[in-house]
């Protein structure tokens, strides 16, 4: 006979605020939670003291700068979570994808997106295969493939800008309800898919366990190769999608567009508080990191700080996040 019926059900139902707080911070690390608070504080403070920050146009441009980097950061987060640190070919994949997008856009937006994302997926699978099957160092492998991808792109374009002959305005400039860019919708859907795979599916659990203890995962009979392949495939597709978003806003492709996606995505992952040692972290952490960096970049931009100083500032933020995250990981309970 079941005794559960006799047990008291939860007597105090949590208040809406507590539920909201635990949804935001409950399962994340201290680092990720701090960045969420910091992002909120930053936005509030900026809205209060930075002139023009809350203007419609600026909020729009802020959202556009989050979209592509956020998608890239989600892909990078999967690679980091699987214990493979970073994928240094995402910038190259995104750059080549802007060119492909512009070259194919006459086929229609849907077909183009499908083809570009599939080709990114394929590039990711090849790299994941080399790393999983060949036991090759992930960083060096992706540095090598990055130059191969860019080299192939330069041979195809001759270093020129490819101007698309088609309509990409739905993705590039479209807005829902007159204010929400479709790019943000794409980011939200992509984040939801990635989060579902990572948290709810079998392969997602395998990815996280692989990241925590690769050797244990292998001995336990988890599908470590499939997990690695899925991560790189997803990251390749993410880079291609990010490239598509970048290309769609001007319907142009050039190998200098999106080339800094590596840096931005790594920065978002590091700032967002995803553990570099793999296994620990959420997709939402990466997106938070991307938002945080975009807000900082936007504040500097609105305040008229030059591009060079913005780069330096971004570097300082990333370094600070690395130090902060490592200190927390050392102090935190149950972490080695």
């Amino acid at each position: 006979m079941h005794k559960t019926a006799l047990e008291p059900i939860a007597q105090v139902s949590p208040t809406a605020l507590r539920r909201w707080a635990s949804a935001l911070f409950g399962t994340t690390s201290i680092h990720a939670a701090s960045i969420r608070i910091a992002t909120l504080v930053l936005i509030v403070v900026a809205a209060a003291i930075v002139p023009h920050f809350t203007e419609f146009g600026n909020v729009q441009s802020l959202m556009y700068s989050v979209a592509a980097v956020g998608i890239g950061a989600i892909g990078m987060a999967l690679v980091t979570l699987s214990g493979n640190l970073f994928m240094l070919s995402m910038g190259a994949t995104a750059a080549v994808s802007t060119v492909m997008f512009a070259a194919l856009i006459h086929l229609g937006l849907g077909t183009t997106l499908l083809l570009v994302v599939l080709s990114g997926l394929l590039m990711g699978i090849v790299q994941g295969g080399i790393i999983a099957l060949g036991k090759a160092n992930p960083i060096i492998t992706t540095i090598a493939t990055s130059s191969i991808i860019i080299g192939a792109g330069v041979i195809y374009t001759g270093g020129l800008t490819v101007i698309g002959k088609g309509d990409a305005t739905w993705l590039g400039q479209g807005k829902l309800f007159g204010w929400l860019p479709t790019q943000i919708l794409v980011l939200a859907i992509f984040a939801a898919i990635a989060s579902f795979i990572l948290q709810k599916s079998r392969i997602g659990r395998e990815i996280r366990l692989l990241g925590m203890r690769a050797e244990v995962a292998r001995i336990a009979g988890l599908r470590t190769m499939a997990a690695t392949l899925v991560c790189y495939a997803f990251a390749g597709a993410a880079a291609a999608l990010a490239g598509s978003l970048i290309a769609s806003s001007s319907a142009q492709g050039n190998l200098t567009y999106g080339i800094d996606l590596d840096f931005n995505a790594i920065a978002a992952v590091l700032v967002g508080g995803i553990s570099i040692r793999g296994g620990r972290g959420h997709i939402s952490d990466a997106v938070t990191g991307a938002i945080f960096l975009a807000v900082i970049g936007n504040i500097l931009l609105v305040s008229g700080v030059s591009y060079e100083y913005q780069l330096v500032a971004k570097g300082i933020v990333v370094l600070a996040a690395v130090v902060f995250g490592a200190l927390l990981a050392r102090l935190g309970p149950g972490r080695k």
């Binding site: 041979i155 570099i276 690395v322 050392r330």
Partner: protein
């Protein structure tokens, strides 16, 4: 890495070092001219010094992703602050490189983070600093006498700049081989835990490793900018790829603990000979980039499982030979 894998690696290196010049010599006129050999050693001077520094961190079981950014910023510092005295400019640059090296290493043992993470952070930061120093321009250096001196032809194929690189190779080689700290660097890369437990000064070894790599990258970048009499924020963009290739081709294992500066020198020569030959065959810079990428891919595969698979027949042969009656 097994003994046989190392032997295979050495064999490949020797075949490439002998084979490539023969092939290029047959297909290009005047390949073995003094001018071309000089050009090869000039390329060796820059790539060699960067690859040497990187390889020291690799031997210690780490990886310095910031070498290219350090050399770029060092070049800018040299040109910007060495206007009156080139020596002073180089000194500033090297001090800067050493400081970055100390910072890179400072986070490692205390925080227990992979050096790939800390150096990716400093790489981003320094890239920003580079753009800031250059201010979107190409800086030029007025004192052309220094450039002429650094690159003037010595003994037909060398120059003071390539001598400096060769001297660095000799010094680092002696340091790694004959000092306790040098051996601690090998121990840190071989088996970190065992090294700590047997009393190797791992923290100090890592610091010295990153100081060497930061200092050498800065020296290389400074000397290059003096020799070109210009510096820009994008100068060293491609050098990390080549330096990593050269080090791994030269027998430095990515896992750490294995390899020697002599091997790295061979790896650097292989890469410079390859790129020089491709250039003479009128390959574009893109095609050279593509070939370098493919080479690095092959090399990283050989460092992984593929190398062990290829070396396994050699292993079996060695075992059979060992067990055979004399």
């Amino acid at each position: 890495m097994h003994q046989s894998q190392r032997l295979l690696n050495l064999a490949i290196r020797i075949v490439l070092l002998v084979g490539m010049p023969v092939i290029f010599g047959l297909s290009v006129n005047h390949y073995f001219s003094q001018a071309n050999l000089y050009a090869i050693f000039q390329a060796f001077a820059f790539l060699g010094i960067i690859a040497l520094g990187l390889s020291v961190t690799m031997v210690a079981g780490e990886f310095d992703l910031s070498v290219a950014a350090i050399s770029t910023v060092a070049g800018l510092i040299t040109v910007k602050f060495g206007g009156d005295s080139a020596l002073l400019g180089i000194l500033y640059a090297v001090v800067f490189g050493v400081v970055v090296g100390v910072a890179n290493a400072a986070l490692l043992p205390r925080l227990g983070v992979s050096s790939l993470v800390t150096t990716v952070g400093s790489m981003m930061f320094l890239t920003g600093v580079g753009y800031w120093l250059a201010g979107g321009r190409v800086l030029s250096y007025g004192n052309l006498d220094v450039s002429d001196f650094l690159d003037h032809n010595v003994a037909g194929i060398f120059s003071p700049r390539s001598f400096i690189t060769i001297a660095c190779f000799v010094v680092i080689s002696l340091f790694l081989r004959f000092t306790t700290l040098g051996r601690d660097i090998y121990a840190s890369g071989g088996h970190r835990k065992a090294a700590i437990q047997s009393g190797a000064r791992v923290g100090k070894a890592l610091t010295v490793g990153f100081v060497i790599s930061g200092g050498l990258s800065a020296l290389g970048g400074g000397l290059l900018s003096l020799s070109l009499a210009t510096a820009s924020a994008t100068m060293g963009s491609n050098i990390l790829l080549q330096a990593a290739s050269a080090a791994i081709v030269g027998g430095i294992a990515l896992g750490g603990g294995i390899g020697s500066p002599l091997g790295v020198a061979m790896g650097v020569l292989i890469l410079t000979i390859l790129n020089n030959g491709l250039g003479l065959l009128s390959a574009t810079s893109t095609q050279i980039l593509l070939v370098n990428g493919l080479l690095l891919l092959i090399v990283v595969l050989l460092d992984g499982r593929l190398g062990a698979v290829l070396a396994s027949p050699l292993d079996r042969f060695a075992r059979r030979k060992a067990s055979a009656p004399v």
